[in-house]
């Protein structure tokens, strides 16, 4: 059969410059039918464009599309790489050894695909890999080369990578897979496509496979773009390659291409070059399972999951920018692409940075050496004087059940060894879906001890949020009670399922449970424990509340978790005799680490409003605890139920010395009310976030003192960690409301800016959100600082005032304006229950607009969405601390689903913009 086809792209395809289109004739080493012939490869290449401008690139990206797309997939990268190279060359001038950030991009059309030749033959995976090598040889491609692949093109690109260690400088992948576990069925969508009659009809004869793939884009592809994808596949003959490619998927162990796939999979695991994985989770073919497999093979990879993106991730999101940013990060040393012989072959990405006392906390804040989380438990259990004292008390059920230090230690060791026995290894993730109490405590410390990474997502995320979190973190194991196991089964949460409760065989089968915790612990009895993890090993992935976008996983190392323990102990004076009552989940687990007894009051932790004053008092009485942690939502109900306390309850509460409200802001009134129940306790309310749980702290007295200050915002007190170990700084805002990164310290009080924090107990990073990591540290001072996204200022006394979120800052002609201060002033006006100040108009000249929600008992007319009635308008203006262009009313503030308390200001701003432009007035 004679090779046909092979041509340059026609003009007019959206986003594709025909000048990038080239054809190369290469001796065909493909299938037997074509051997000895010449194959015509079509490929896109910006190399000649760069050469024409005298730009020598630092390296080449070799991009391989999947099935049934073609090199058109990579047009954005070609464009951006070329623009960047030209801009960079203009900025730096010509340089020997290449212009930094100038990358050549070569994107091939695989043979039988795109505009490359059709031979009529079927090409197997080894032939495709070898063919790509023949192509790059013929092109004369020299290093360094970074491969980039999507879909089954990912496998081919990795095959090339494994075969060209001398040229390889990095690998980048969009949704792909290199391994199909024997016990996991291939994705249903592909299984169907592979069924023989469906296969031919679906892939070649009809265009179903092509059309289905194009339909996977979120949002839909513009029709001109979809047409460009269809261009090389217009006739059944054109589509034969699609069919051949699908047929070559090594779905079973017996498939002829399987050995090659296994060879590549093993080779990838040995790669030490920088790696980038960009992933669209909404992919019916390459699910997060395959991402997890790739991470296991390339543990040093930079990983970003684009929530909401799918299989056609290259169409769904801007992937080209991140790819070039990643390539560019080589210049700054984060990832090095120097090619063979350079640092890239020596395991570079986890290369230790210069020692930094705050960012690399191998020492605790007090300067002592790293103490693992279980050290406190070991000490108390190892000391005969304390061995039989209470470590954890369980208030659920009829009465307090006490677990001694000795019993807890024994249970931790049994579970740890048992988990190891069933295959849990250091770095494996274990999702814990168990309520706080002795079982959860033992599980957490068992996992920590063997280096398993604890995954904790609050049930308050709801099923959708939890599903997203479980898929995102992709734990290898999941421990849960029956409800959690049922959800795991119903929603396809990953992980070998371990039941925290004994189950009968029927239920066990129905829930897909592999192990029962009681068996695991029994099996671990008396076994030796594996070596301890080190301070820099991952310890936990904690999920954010999800109130500011989809919940994000936050990774803590052992060192950082231990630092949290130490800063808590040091700041609040927690000692062995303190005793903790914790109605706030994260701190419930720190008791054993602190070496003090802990108790969770009888409540549903995922529903804080179930906590009563009586339950708190009972927990305090049972444990004789001196310290109580509660969330603001719980406090509300505790205060409401204070009437049920008896004399003994009140006596017990009088012995409480420290009270903490944690998790969200609380009003002075509410703090005062709860302090009335614990009259001898110092009431604290720390400010923090999942990324750094203790940033500043303020007492009730401090709040009262701040009330007389003229500052805008909510005073959250002084930094808990002093400047030597980290601290808090303000990154001043520019006229456009962007944080400049130029830090402003307490010496320049009053400057509005983004709050930056640095602390030994700060998160290590976000989980599988590399771009979010980069954004969280962009424009920060040297060291491991974190951009909180909150804005505020430091006052002359060093107190931090929070004035809102960075994304809510208005940019007026007079400069940036944070909303919280004006909102506080407006909420003092009669007839206003809640207020939000939003900006309308373009950035830089925005006008402040007050949107107010009247009290629930206001009349219907006064609650109608639109302009405020005259009286209310006048009252709001009189009360407001800033000039207002308009006062609008909404019957009810739009709020986030999670808390039903945080006002959705972005939505309000869009609504106000429309109304005040003269548009229709409907509810926001």
């Amino acid at each position: 059969m004679v090779s046909s086809g092979g041509g340059t792209v026609p003009p007019g395809l959206p986003g594709l410059d025909p000048r990038f289109s080239h054809v190369l004739r290469v001796p065909d080493g493909g299938g037997a039918a074509t051997h000895g012939r010449v194959a015509e490869w079509h490929y896109l290449d910006n190399g000649p464009e760069l050469a024409a401008r005298g730009i020598e690139p630092v390296g080449t990206v070799l991009a391989v599309h999947g099935n049934p797309t073609w090199s058109y997939l990579w047009r954005d990268l070609l464009n951006l790489a070329t623009e960047t190279a030209v801009a960079e060359a203009a900025a730096t001038g010509e340089r020997p050894g290449g212009v930094p950030d100038a990358w050549r991009v070569v994107a091939v059309d695989q043979l039988e695909m795109g505009l490359s030749a059709r031979s009529g033959g079927v090409r197997s995976l080894p032939e495709r890999v070898a063919g790509l090598g023949a192509f790059t040889d013929a092109l004369g491609l020299n290093g360094p080369v970074v491969t980039l692949g999507h879909d089954w093109g990912g496998v081919v690109s990795l095959g090339w990578a494994v075969d060209h260690p001398d040229l390889l400088a990095g690998v980048a992948l969009l949704n792909t897979a290199v391994h199909q576990p024997a016990d996991v069925p291939i994705p249903a969508a592909l299984r169907l496509a592979l069924a023989p009659p469906v296969h031919r009809l679906g892939t070649s004869t009809t265009r179903a496979f092509l059309e289905t793939t194009l339909a996977l884009a979120h949002p839909r592809l513009p029709s001109a773009v979809a047409d460009a994808y269809r261009l090389p596949y217009r006739t059944a003959g054109d589509r034969a390659g699609i069919e051949g490619f699908v047929a070559d998927i090594p779905a079973t162990a017996e498939h002829p291409s399987r050995p090659e796939l296994d060879r590549i999979a093993a080779g990838v695991a040995a790669l030490k070059v920088p790696a980038l994985l960009l992933w669209g989770p909404r992919d019916p073919i390459f699910s997060d399972r395959y991402l997890d497999d790739l991470i296991e093979r390339l543990p040093h990879a930079r990983v970003h999951r684009f929530e909401g993106a799918g299989h056609l991730i290259a169409e769904d999101v801007d992937y080209a920018g991140p790819v070039l940013d990643w390539l560019g990060s080589g210049a700054s040393g984060a990832d090095a692409f120097t090619g063979p012989g350079g640092p890239s072959t020596s395991g570079l990405t986890s290369a230790p940075e210069a020692p930094d006392p705050a960012s690399g906390p191998a020492v605790s804040p007090s300067g002592s050496a790293f103490r693992p989380m279980w050290a406190g438990l070991d000490e108390r259990a190892g000391d005969d004087a304390t061995r039989s004292e209470a470590a954890v008390l369980d208030m659920s059920g009829s009465g307090p059940a006490t677990v001694s230090w000795g019993a807890l230690d024994r249970q931790v060791r049994r579970i740890a060894a048992g988990l190891h026995l069933i295959g849990v290894r250091r770095g494996d993730r274990v999702s814990l879906l168990v309520q706080p109490g002795p079982t959860l405590t033992a599980l957490v410390y068992a996992c920590l001890r063997i280096g398993a990474v604890v995954v904790v997502a609050d049930a308050g995320l709801g099923i959708r949020g939890l599903t997203r979190a479980q898929r995102g973190a992709w734990p290898q194991y999941l421990v849960g009670r029956t409800t959690a196991l049922a959800a795991a089964r119903a929603f396809g949460w990953p992980g070998v399922r371990i039941s925290a409760d004994p189950l009968d065989p029927v239920r066990r089968r129905a829930l897909g449970v592999d192990h029962e915790l009681v068996d695991v612990a029994r099996a671990g009895e008396g076994l030796d424990l594996p070596p301890e993890p080190g301070p820099d090993d991952e310890a936990a992935v904690l999920f954010t509340s999800g109130s500011t976008g989809p919940a994000k996983g936050v990774v803590y190392t052992h060192a950082r978790l231990s630092a949290l323990r130490d800063v808590l102990a040091a700041h609040f004076g927690v000692g062995a005799e303190t005793g903790l009552v914790t109605g706030f989940a994260p701190f419930a687990l720190l008791g054993p680490a602190l070496g003090t007894r802990s108790v969770t009051p009888d409540m549903d932790v995922s529903a804080p409003r179930t906590l009563t004053a009586g339950a708190v008092a009972a927990a305090v009485r049972a444990s004789d605890a001196r310290m109580v942690f509660l969330s603001p939502a719980a406090i509300l109900h505790v205060v409401d139920t204070a009437g049920e306390l008896d004399a003994a309850d009140r006596d017990a509460l009088e012995r409480v010395e420290t009270f903490l409200s944690t998790g969200a802001p609380i009003s002075a009134e509410m703090l005062t009310a709860v302090q009335a129940l614990m009259p001898h306790a110092a009431a604290h309310t720390p400010y923090g976030m999942t990324e750094c749980m203790l940033v500043t702290d303020i007492t009730l007295e401090g709040i009262r003192a701040a009330a007389t200050a003229p500052d805008d915002g909510v005073c959250v007190g002084r930094p808990i960690v002093d400047d030597a170990a980290g601290g808090v700084t303000i990154s001043a805002l520019d006229a456009d409301g962007a944080a400049t990164g130029a830090p402003s310290s307490a010496e320049v009080p009053g400057v509005l800016g983004e709050v930056l924090v640095r602390a030994p107990h700060l998160k290590e990073r976000y989980d599988r959100l590399w771009l979010t990591d980069v954004a969280a540290e962009r424009d920060t001072p040297p060291g491991h600082w974190h951009r909180t996204g909150d804005v505020g200022h430091l006052d002359a006394e060093g107190r931090l005032w929070i004035e809102g979120r960075l994304s809510h800052v208005l940019t007026t002609a007079d400069g940036p304006l944070a909303p919280v201060g004006p909102e506080q002033s407006i909420e003092r006006a009669p007839g206003v229950r809640r207020a939000a100040v939003v900006g309308v108009g373009p950035a830089g000249v925005q006008q402040a607009v007050a949107v107010v929600e009247p009290p629930a008992d206001a009349g219907r007319r006064d609650r109608r969405a639109g302009l405020a009635p005259q009286e209310l308008d006048a009252a709001v203006r009189a009360s407001s601390s800033v000039a207002l262009a308009a006062v609008l009313v909404v019957p009810q503030m739009p709020t986030d689903v999670r808390h039903n308390s945080k006002i959705d200001r972005a939505r309000l701003a869009r609504w106000a913009d429309g109304v005040l432009a003269g548009g229709r007035v409907s509810a926001p």
Partner: protein, 363 residues
């Protein structure tokens, strides 16, 4: 300095003339009747009459040109004659008389094609897209005026056919131009577009609103929620004088440019109408007309009024309906920085002064 102010019998023209008299300038005014500005030398006549205009500019160092036909409807030829031809006559005469500075008072409507303007700057005037005869002819006259801006020899921007005759040489007093030496061939033009000027004595907006509201004939268009920039009278006058001064001391920063001038405090239409009504001691509007209907009706009314010239002003035009139901407010950063001017009277203070004048209540 001798300054000719045209249209000084109008609200804004009078305010500008008074401000200049107060600070000691020689002020000459040109309008069809008397200006009523104490201390000013009145020249009566039309800006379209070359002989009158030549007399008015004789000996003047600067011109502030406000005279225009301002109306919602009327004979297109009359708009053309007064606004375009009148400006041309004045420009010709001013250049011949050796006038150095020319402030063309214009209107933001010269760049308004009907859609909402939200936080925008001063777009170029565009007669082809402006809505209505007033806006179209004001756009044409602004384009004409700015095209006459011409630097001293060596950096002439637009030579043009109307070279200055140098007749005024030697008449301008030393120091008039803030130390910037002016060559013979230096004609500095700036356009200032105050947006919706109001204040006590304003017959165009304030008294019309009060009058209609008193007769129960003032509806709100749509929800009255469109944000609109306005300019309190004293601020507009001060801004125009600032532009005149900048042509003297920092000509290169401002010449040849157009500036929209407002209080920088956009308010909703409903707020403004309510404020004016209360200041005037009448009930604010209570009934609404859908904005789309008003626009359609405005178009009809306009057409009817066009075939019965000489009649009273139409109660509604398409232009007015658009003005009152779409947002238009402006980016004031450049104008404040470059003119070195900030509004001294806030909207609230302006309403108080309005109330004091009309005997109503403010706020």
């Amino acid at each position: 300095m001798t300054v000719l102010v045209t249209g000084a019998s109008g609200l804004l023209g009078g305010a500008v003339a008074r401000l200049l008299v107060e600070r000691g300038e020689q002020v000459r005014t040109l309008q069809r009747s008397l200006s009523g500005v104490p201390g000013a030398e009145d020249v009566a006549g039309s800006v379209t009459d070359p002989a009158v205009v030549a007399r008015a500019v004789d000996g003047a160092d600067a011109v502030v040109h406000l005279a225009a036909k301002v109306s919602l409807a009327g004979d297109p030829a009359e708009f053309e004659r007064v606004n375009v031809r009148g400006t041309e006559v004045l420009l010709d005469a001013a250049e011949r008389a050796g006038v150095r500075r020319f402030v063309q008072v214009s209107s933001p409507s010269v760049a308004h094609a009907g859609a909402s303007l939200v936080g925008v700057g001063a777009e170029p005037a565009d007669p082809a897209r402006a809505r209505g005869e007033y806006a179209r002819t004001k756009a044409a006259s602004e384009v004409l005026a700015l095209s006459r801006d011409r630097g001293p020899a060596g950096r002439a921007s637009l030579p043009g056919p109307h070279q200055g005759a140098g007749a005024a040489q030697g008449r301008s007093q030393p120091g008039d131009d803030g130390g910037t030496p002016a060559g013979d061939d230096d004609f500095r033009v700036v356009a200032v577009r105050p947006h919706i000027v109001w204040g006590p004595g304003d017959t165009q907006l304030v008294e019309r609103v009060i009058d209609r509201a008193a007769r129960g004939r003032l509806p709100l268009l749509g929800h009255g929620a469109a944000l609109i920039d306005t300019t309190y009278l004293d601020n507009a006058a001060a801004g125009i004088v600032a532009a005149l001064d900048r042509l003297g001391d920092r000509p290169d920063a401002v010449r040849g440019r157009a500036y929209v001038l407002t209080n920088g405090e956009p308010r909703t239409v409903a707020d403004l109408l309510t404020g004016i009504c209360r200041a005037g001691g009448v009930e604010p509007p209570r009934w609404r007309v859908p904005a789309g209907l008003a626009r359609t009706a405005g178009g009809l009314v306009e057409a009817v009024w066009r075939v019965r010239p000489g009649a009273d002003e139409p109660p509604m035009t398409r232009f007015l309906a658009e003005q009152l139901s779409t947002a238009h407010w402006f980016d004031q950063r450049a104008v404040r920085a470059e003119l070195g001017w900030r509004p001294a009277v806030s909207i609230d203070e302006g309403m108080r002064r309005l109330a004091a004048h009309y005997g109503g209540t403010a706020g």
